[in-house]
Each structure stands twice: as structure tokens, then as C-alpha cells.
């Protein structure tokens, strides 16, 4: 990554943040409202209606939903990033790998802005204490998720130029995955036979790691290792994919 590419990335993300937040505190609160609203609806639906039995269910939800929104929104936005910036791709010579990265980075920025609020929620609603371990666990998880999400985002972005259906599929896929990566219920509720399949889901490993770090200050080495391994595989596949297919997107857009 050249210095120029980094500067361009910074400017692109800054542009989106400015537009999204319109430089106001209200904008910030408004942007946070989204995941919180989800958490609220799921909390009511699952705690009161489905009667999920779980201690600190609201915390379980919150600590999972925010990283999830980063992941799913990042990838969903990235998928259309070439179409949305067609004139940039066709008329200017920019490093094309930057565009999906800026979508992922934007969502990561939103997540970072939300972190203090998550921590505050944990402390005030859950009576948890600040943990020193977060100082290394959270940055580590950030890096792992970034390494995991960006290759997928890149592949979908390039793929979507060739096969437009991908953007529709991605939205639906995340809706489905939301329920299959236990996000609104603990994995313990999954019957024995099925559980094995759920544990194979790398998204589960990732999200559970976040929850573990926030709620108990622990990181499960096996889960984290699995997530990292998957990230490495995605990274390799994405790189090959990009080398093969990216050069032609200028013509196809």
C-alpha cells in the first residue's frame, strides 16, 4: 500500500463520514441508533415472546450486533462499490482495490465510534467493569475481522461487475446468516446434531470472540485461530481472484 493509496483511502472514508454524519452530533447519534434499534427489537422479540432464557441477554445482543453490522454492511456496500463509482473506475486510473476497502473501512469507522457506547452500556446496564485485557483484545479482534472481511468484500465487489445478481444474493445471505450464526440466541440452544455445523461457521467463531472479549475478557484461542485461518484462506483466494478478474472491470462497467 503506497502512501498515496493510504491518503486516498483516508479521503474516501472521510467523505463518507462527512456525508453520513453531516458533521453533527445528531448525525452521530442517528448513526448509532440503527444497531441499537435492531438490538431493541430483537430483545423484545426474543426475550419476551420467544422466551429465550439467558442472563444478560441484552448484552449478548449488543456485543454481537455491532460487529455484525460492520461485517454485513461493509460487505454489502462493498459489493456495489464499483458500480457506485463507475466514473472513477472508467475515467481515472486509481488502484481499484481501494474502493471495496473504503466501504469496509467506513463501516469499521462507525464501529469504532460506537465502541465507547458499547462499553458504557456494558458498564451501566450490566454493571461490568472496564477490563485492561480489552486494550490488546479489541485491537486484535479488529485486525482479525478486517483481515477476514476485506478479501470477501473485494471478491464480491469484483464478482458483482461480472454477475449482477451477487448484490441481491448478498443481502439475503446475510439475513439468513444472521439466524444461522447464532446472533440472537446462544449456541447452546442448538440441538446436538446440528451444533457441529454451526460451529463450522467462521462468522460464529468471529462473533463469539467479540462476545467473549466484551463479556468475560477471554479469548478462545481455538475459535480465534479458526477465524484467522479462514481469513488467510479468503485472503489468498481473493488475491488470485483479483489478479485474474479485476483488470477487465473498466470495460464491463
Amino acid at each position: 500500500m503506497s502512501a498515496h493509496s493510504l491518503e486516498l483511502l483516508y479521503l474516501l472514508v472521510r467523505k463518507d463520514l462527512k456525508v453520513r454524519y453531516k458533521s453533527s452530533v445528531l448525525g452521530y447519534l442517528w448513526a448509532l441508533a440503527n444497531p441499537f434499534a435492531f438490538a431493541l427489537v430483537y430483545w423484545v422479540a426474543f426475550k419476551y415472546i420467544m422466551r429465550v432464557q439467558m442472563e444478560n441477554y441484552s448484552l449478548y445482543l449488543i456485543t454481537g450486533i455491532f460487529p455484525w453490522v460492520w461485517l454485513s454492511s461493509g460487505i454489502t456496500q462493498a459489493t456495489r462499490s464499483y458500480q457506485n463509482n463507475a466514473s472513477l473506475v472508467k475515467k481515472v486510473r486509481i488502484p481499484r482495490a481501494i474502493l471495496p476497502l473504503s466501504s469496509v473501512a467506513q463501516e469499521m469507522a462507525h464501529f469504532l465510534f460506537a465502541l465507547p457506547v458499547i462499553v458504557a452500556f456494558l458498564m451501566f446496564a450490566g454493571g461490568f467493569e472496564l477490563r485492561a485485557s480489552w486494550l490488546w483484545q479489541l485491537p486484535l479482534l479488529l485486525a482479525v475481522q478486517l483481515a477476514f472481511v476485506y478479501p470477501v468484500a473485494l471478491m464480491f465487489a469484483v464478482g458483482n461487475v461480472y454477475v449482477h445478481d451477487i448484490e441481491h444474493l448478498v443481502g439475503l445471505a446475510f439475513a439468513m446468516l444472521f439466524f444461522l450464526t447464532p446472533m440472537v440466541y446462544p449456541i447452546s440452544m442448538v440441538p446436538e446434531g446440528l451444533r457441529r455445523w454451526f460451529e463450522l461457521n467462521p462468522l460464529h467463531a468471529l462473533m463469539d470472540s467479540w462476545r467473549g472479549a466484551f463479556l468475560s475478557g477471554t479469548l478462545d484461542g481455538a475459535k480465534l485461530g479458526y477465524a484467522i485461518a479462514c481469513a488467510a484462506v479468503f485472503g489468498a483466494v481473493a488475491w488470485l481472484c483479483y489478479r485474474r478478474f479485476a483488470p477487465r472491470i473498466g470495460e464491463l462497467l
Binding site: A3, H4, E7, L8, L11, L12, K15, K18, V19, K22, N85, S87, L88, V89, K90, K91, V92, R93, I94, P247, R248, G250, E251
Partner: protein, 231 residues
């Protein structure tokens, strides 16, 4: 100086059109550009003429590296700045200032390079205080002046320009032409695609004419313009 030879395939519904239509339709030829080869020396102005759809924009895309030629190669020495579409990447919600930095980076400039030239850019564009306002409040003319002004100040050895010489009013256009001539005097290289014969004649010295993706005329710009415009 650089030269190129390129052939590039256009993958549209060539085979489905009826044969007579296929022969003459500009969307139906197999090669968008074929056998195009030329050299441009440093400090030269090179013009490309031709009706629409004849391959001029494709040629610039290939030169810029956006589209890869199936056969042949492009070789350019020096830093390239392109003006294929004004304000590609401009965002209406951002101020003129923010857009200048963003667009500058898109064009390949480093932040400090934009910083150094910012004042000159704003002056050339004649926007004044409006540069702090969001872009959506600008008139079309203001947007194009800002875009051109930024390009004009980009540190580049080679400029590739597609049709965007008709920017602003006649006075501003004259200012742009003079700026380009000045650029050439400082040993900058220009490749310009345009329908504006007057501008081409003033700013370029050699050129080619493209028809159906092939070079049908080449030589000093005055001569090919004369032949293009016919007796």
C-alpha cells in the same frame, strides 16, 4: 516520449446483429481499435480526431491503463494526469475545498502537493469564496471550472484530455488554451481528443484521425484538420 500499438476487443452483441448492420454499426466491430500505432515526443501536442464512436475514448482509456489491449503495448514515460470526465469523484455534499483534495488524490496527487497548489487552483477557477460552499450549490460552469483548474495544476508530464476543452465561457476557454500552450512550452506532453478543431489547431502540432477504430490519416495537425473538414 511514448508509443503505442493496440488492438482491443469490444465484446458486445456483434454476432447477433444482422450482417449488413454488423458491417457498418459502430457497436458491431470486433476490434474497438486496430493497428493503432504512434509515437509522441516530449513537449508535443498530439490531437485525435474522428466522429463519435470511432474509438477515440477507447484509445485514451487504453493509454491510461484502464482498459488492457489484447495485443500490443503502451509505453509512457513520466507522470500521467487524465481529464476524461470532469469531476469524476466529485461529491455534491462536500465543499469545493474538500472536493479539490479528494479529486486531487484521485488524480494521483499527494496531500501536500494539493496543499501547495491550493491557492493557485482556487484563483484559476475564479470561484472565490464559493469554494467553501457545498458543490451542489454550484452552477455547471463553476463545477467544470474547478475541475479543469485542478487538472491544470496537477504535477504531470503528460496530460490526456477527452473533449473537455469546452469549459466555461469563451474567455475562460481562452485561458485554458493558453495554459495548455504554456504547459507545452515547459516540455509537457499533451494528447487531446476533441471536436473543437480550433482548439486542436492551437494547442497540438501533430495528430491522427480515427475511423472505425483504425488510423485513416496522420501527420501535422493543420493538414489532417483540413482534410477532415473536406473541400
Amino acid at each position: 516520449m511514448w508509443k503505442s500499438y493496440s488492438g482491443k476487443r469490444v465484446g458486445l452483441k456483434t454476432l447477433l446483429l444482422r450482417p449488413e448492420v454488423a458491417r457498418t454499426s459502430r457497436y458491431a466491430r470486433r476490434w474497438a481499435l486496430q493497428g493503432v500505432s504512434f509515437k509522441v515526443s516530449r513537449g508535443q501536442g498530439f490531437g485525435v480526431l474522428g466522429a463519435n464512436g470511432m474509438g477515440k475514448t477507447t484509445l485514451l482509456s487504453v493509454l491510461l491503463g484502464i482498459v488492457l489491449p489484447e495485443r500490443g503495448s503502451v509505453s509512457i514515460q513520466g507522470r500521467v494526469a487524465s481529464l476524461l470526465e470532469l469531476g469524476a469523484g466529485f461529491h455534491p455534499e462536500l465543499s469545493g475545498r474538500d472536493n479539490v483534495f479528494l479529486y486531487g488524490s484521485i488524480l494521483g496527487m499527494r496531500l501536500h502537493e494539493v496543499e501547495e497548489r491550493y491557492r493557485a487552483i482556487v484563483e484559476f477557477s475564479e470561484l472565490g469564496d464559493a469554494v467553501e460552499e457545498p458543490l451542489r450549490t454550484y452552477s455547471n460552469g463553476m463545477v467544470t471550472r474547478l475541475g479543469f483548474s485542478l487538472i491544470a495544476h496537477a504535477p504531470a508530464d503528460v496530460f490526456l484530455i477527452d473533449e473537455v476543452l469546452a469549459v466555461g465561457d469563451a474567455r475562460f476557454q481562452e485561458k485554458c488554451r493558453r495554459h495548455l500552450q504554456e504547459f507545452r512550452r515547459r516540455n509537457g506532453t499533451l494528447v487531446i481528443v476533441s471536436h473543437d478543431m480550433k482548439a486542436l489547431a492551437e494547442v497540438c502540432d501533430e495528430g491522427i484521425r480515427l475511423e472505425m477504430g483504425e488510423v485513416t490519416d496522420a501527420g501535422p495537425i493543420g493538414d489532417i484538420i483540413g482534410r477532415y473538414q473536406g473541400p
